[in-house]
Amino acid sequence: MDPTTRTAAELAAGIHSGELSSVEVTRSHLERIAKVDSEINAFLHVETEGALATAEKVDADIAAGRRPASPLAGVPLGLKDVLTTKGIPTTCGSRTLEGWIPPYDATVTRKLREADVVVLGKTNMDEFAMGSSTENSAYGPTRNPWDTTRVPGGSSGGSAAALAAFQAPVTVGTDTGGSVRQPGALTGTVGVKPTYGGVSRYGLVAFSSSLDQAGPCARTVLDAALLHEVIGGHDPMDSTSLNAPVPPVVEAARRGASGDLRGLRVGVVTELGGEGYQPGVLRSFAAAVDTLRELGAEVAEVSCPNFEYALSAYYLIAPSECSSNLARFDAMRYGLRVADDGTNGADDVMSLSREAGFGAEVKRRIIIGTYALSAGYYDAYYGSAQKVRSLVTRDFDAAYDQVDVLVSPTAPTTAFRVGERVDDPMSMYRADLCTIPTNLAGTAAMSVPSGLSDEDGLPVGLQIMAPALADDRMYEVGAAYERARDAAAGGALADRIPEL
């Protein structure tokens, strides 16, 4: 059997029992990347030597009877190019960091290395994680393996597409307003945004510090859980990291696979649906809710009235923080430097380098954010947005008093065509309508595929949301749902991805 079609859990079991070799598994994935990535463009950098070196080490350990370093030791993985990797280029999808080799590892990277996970390379993304289609990458858009004329979503489009194209069984993405979940929905894969502070942000190149969160992406809920436990946990290098154990997500995913959700209270968010949503998406969502009910869950409607303002608040808070976070790209210490011809002063070199290094969407957000933080506007914009943020959090708190998890469609539509929304930022921003509230509140959410839309045959995502540090709850629900979905369809969703 081709190792690239197997799950991370299966690969790990095979490698750790000696039945499979990590080197073989790694080579199969590298060959797959070599074969399909000219079409998909999921990878910005492939780290062949490093990947094989890790794989060889794992094989040697297993042969010598040593315990694997982690449940995912020897399993290949793609890492979003926004996490720093010592000695390996990190571009954030931007021209400004072309050729930059970080001198240090992100905590997520360090944990992956310590776990002997095989890092295949760095995945494509919207520049500095700003976008919902991966079209904002300075290195060309990533294509959706279900239909290569369509986008895979974004900003973690490379991480999601790599899964659907069988280039990697697991990947890491980052989610600031839906950047893991929405690509998961559009590519028929699982994408998780852990509780804010659950995964260290040290070495995650910041877009919006108070919203950014790295999370696991996989083709199954269990694989996502396995990766979640490897990358999660308290980190003294990140002050906003939660000093709490990683919720028992693997155990929850295994328990969920038994398919029993009796006693679970599920809330359907009234405000996330209806007008403006693609009918096929709404039908898929309704069917998914029915499935949850069949699994024994009690389903109720829950109203979160302030979610209506979440998108507007997000597009003030995120750009404000980004305008400050991206100020460091000034051509003085690293990154692109232009116009340093001996006649331009430092201010001009900084300004011209930023002009040349940043793409249009990044500039748009820096300008919006700079404006929103300006004296005289701060209260009206940034200040009001923070108030909305508190209100959204209060809505969640009230909702979780009544139910255990909340559900909604992950994105209002299925994958759109490359180029379709690039000139219409507002319609692009709406792609994150359902995912943004969770980032504002710092709670947890995941997207699990709910099958294909009956009108265009493209994947639809079911969003399952849980309170802070109750990430295990959504894994349990997600795993139960996933099993019921595949049983009803007579096979895994991934088997229906078209041949590339």
Binding site: L83, T84, T90, C92, L97, W100, P102, P103, Y104, A106, R201, Y202, G203, L204, V205, A206, S208, S209, S210, P236, M237, D238, S239, T240, S320, E321, S323, S324, A327, R328, F329, D330, M332, R333, Y334, G345, A346, D347, M350, T370, L373, S374, A375, Y378, Y382
Partner: protein, 502 residues
């Protein structure tokens, strides 16, 4: 204008105007590590050697607050009689400058850790003035730029600039006074006395080196004038680069005179930063501040709020060291000094260092004579304040102890202190590296003594005959042979012992 204009006489300035001062002091804390990372907080070092991803602002790196810096900030707040915030945050101050790695400074804005306090400062004649403290807040220092080429040493017109980030991220406390009004003629003196008192306080608390010459204490002086009897404040200038206590006084006085001259000619004072020129005691125009820069402050999302518990604050309050003015009151009693004697000691800057030397175990008289005589000479010849000499009271106390136990002679003691001043380390290190220890090894001495005795048998006879004072000649010979490093008292004892004349 190139012609030197007539400046107004100081008396006339005061007849027509009331000065208003605002002093902003930046203090570098002497914590072991920087404010938000684990890099050493040390002055100097090869450029860009005390750096890491965080203080270089590399993409992805994050800050973590240095707990001992917060502790120092609270102690400073308590020493300045401030309220301590029960909950406060850091904020980002956004502006572009190449020596600031992130192009924002992590600082505090509307939620300082300490606020609303005061410092009582004593003027030269013993009068006490209360200076209100607006706030004390935490922030990080910037790196240093060295602008090469060009005439001014500033960034504009330079050929190129060199950047050193060793100082980037060093913990700073900014202490801002409330407007100081009503000081009149004594405004320059009050400014100096305030900075002096603040420096003494911070030194007593052990939170900073407070070396103005090295920039670990930096003062910006805001000066404005109001026409006599007018309540409204005039336009202010902010003078930077004021690197000594004397300069604080000179800069304020110069600004008062300069502004009065402008105003009396019907011209206006420009709101701007000015640079103090140490050489001639004047200030020159820097950056105009007509439109105040918009720093786009917002709460730092990479750091969690700081909420010092009242129990912690009270614990810190209870462990505040004896404050300089309390200590002065105590030494006045213990040493039985008159008010005038104490003031002399204070005005020469010796009171606190003498007291600290006594606290470190030295007898009062020895401590006083070392600081008031030898070390004052050294400070004068170097043109620095006594307390800024690079020798600590503890080191002076150690030298005094070594002299009294006979390990050093007075002369060697001074040499040891010169070694400490030259940066050769602690007294014991200087003794070791310069080989200054008094020869106290009896066997080494015995050899020299036997040689001297053999060379002068006639003297030996005299000693044996009871003329003990004749031993002086032998002592002299031995001291010469040991190049003065022997303890003469011990040499004499050994000679008498050897001659059986004890």
């Amino acid at each position: 204008m190139t012609t030197k204009t007539e400046t107004m006489d100081y008396d006339e300035v005061l007849e027509r105007f009331d000065p208003v001062l605002g002093l902003e002091v930046h203090v570098e804390l002497s914590t072991r590590t920087k404010m938000f990372c684990g890099c050493p907080n040390a002055f100097g070092g090869e450029p860009n050697t005390h750096v890491c991803p965080t203080c270089l602002g590399l993409p992805g790196a994050l800050p973590v607050v240095n707990g001992s810096a917060v502790e120092s900030a609270i102690r400073i707040g308590l020493g300045l009689n401030c309220e301590i915030a029960g909950w406060c945050r850091f904020a980002r101050k956004n502006y572009f400058y190449p020596d600031m790695p992130k192009n924002f400074q992590t600082s505090q804005y509307d939620e300082p850790i300490a606020f609303d306090g005061y410092l009582d400062v004593e003027l030269g004649d013993g009068e006490t003035v209360r200076v209100g403290i607006e706030r004390a807040h935490m922030e990080e220092d910037t790196g240093k730029s060295l602008h090469v080429g060009g005439a001014t040493g500033r960034i504009h017109g330079a050929d190129y600039s060199l950047l050193d980030y060793n100082r980037a991220g060093v913990p700073l406390i900014e202490i801002v006074t409330k407007p100081i009004t009503g000081a009149g003629r004594r405004a320059p003196e009050v400014a100096r006395a305030y900075v002096t008192a603040l420096r003494d306080l911070l030194r007593a608390m052990g939170v900073s080196d407070v070396r103005m010459d090295q920039g670990s204490l930096r003062c910006d002086a805001n000066v404005s004038l109001s026409p006599k009897g007018d309540e409204a404040f005039g336009t202010r200038s902010e003078t930077k680069n004021v690197n000594s206590l004397r300069s604080v006084e000179r800069a304020v006085r110069y600004e008062m005179t300069r502004q009065a001259t402008l105003l009396s000619r019907g011209e206006r004072v420009v709101q701007e930063t000015r640079h103090f020129q140490e050489a001639d005691g004047t200030t020159s125009a820097g950056r105009p501040k007509e439109t105040s820069e918009d720093y786009r402050y917002f709460p730092e999302p990479d750091l969690v709020p700081i909420a010092p518990s009242s129990a912690w604050v009270e614990e810190l309050r209870s462990t505040l060291p004896e404050l300089p003015w309390e200590r002065r009151r105590r030494i006045q009693q213990e040493w039985q000094l008159t008010d005038e004697e104490l003031r002399d000691l204070v005005n020469t800057g010796a009171a606190d260092v003498v007291a600290a030397t006594v606290d470190a175990g030295a007898p009062v008289d020895d401590a006083r004579s070392w600081w008031v005589q030898f070390l004052t000479e050294q400070a004068n010849s170097r043109g620095v304040d006594l307390a800024d000499l690079p020798v600590t009271p503890a080191q002076v106390a150690r030298v005094i102890a070594l002299i009294s136990e006979g390990t050093l002679t007075n002369k060697l003691g001074r040499e040891v202190v010169l070694g400490v001043l030259a940066g050769e380390g602690d007294p014991d290190e200087v003794i070791a590296s310069r080989g200054l220890e008094v020869v106290s090894d009896d066997s080494a001495l015995t050899a020299a003594i036997d040689e001297a005795l053999a060379a002068q048998p006639d003297v030996v006879e005299k000693i044996r005959g009871g003329k003990v004072q004749a031993a002086g000649a032998i002592v002299g010979a031995v001291m010469k042979a040991t190049q003065g490093q022997a303890d003469a008292k011990r040499v004499r004892e050994l000679i008498l012992q050897r001659c059986g004349a004890e």
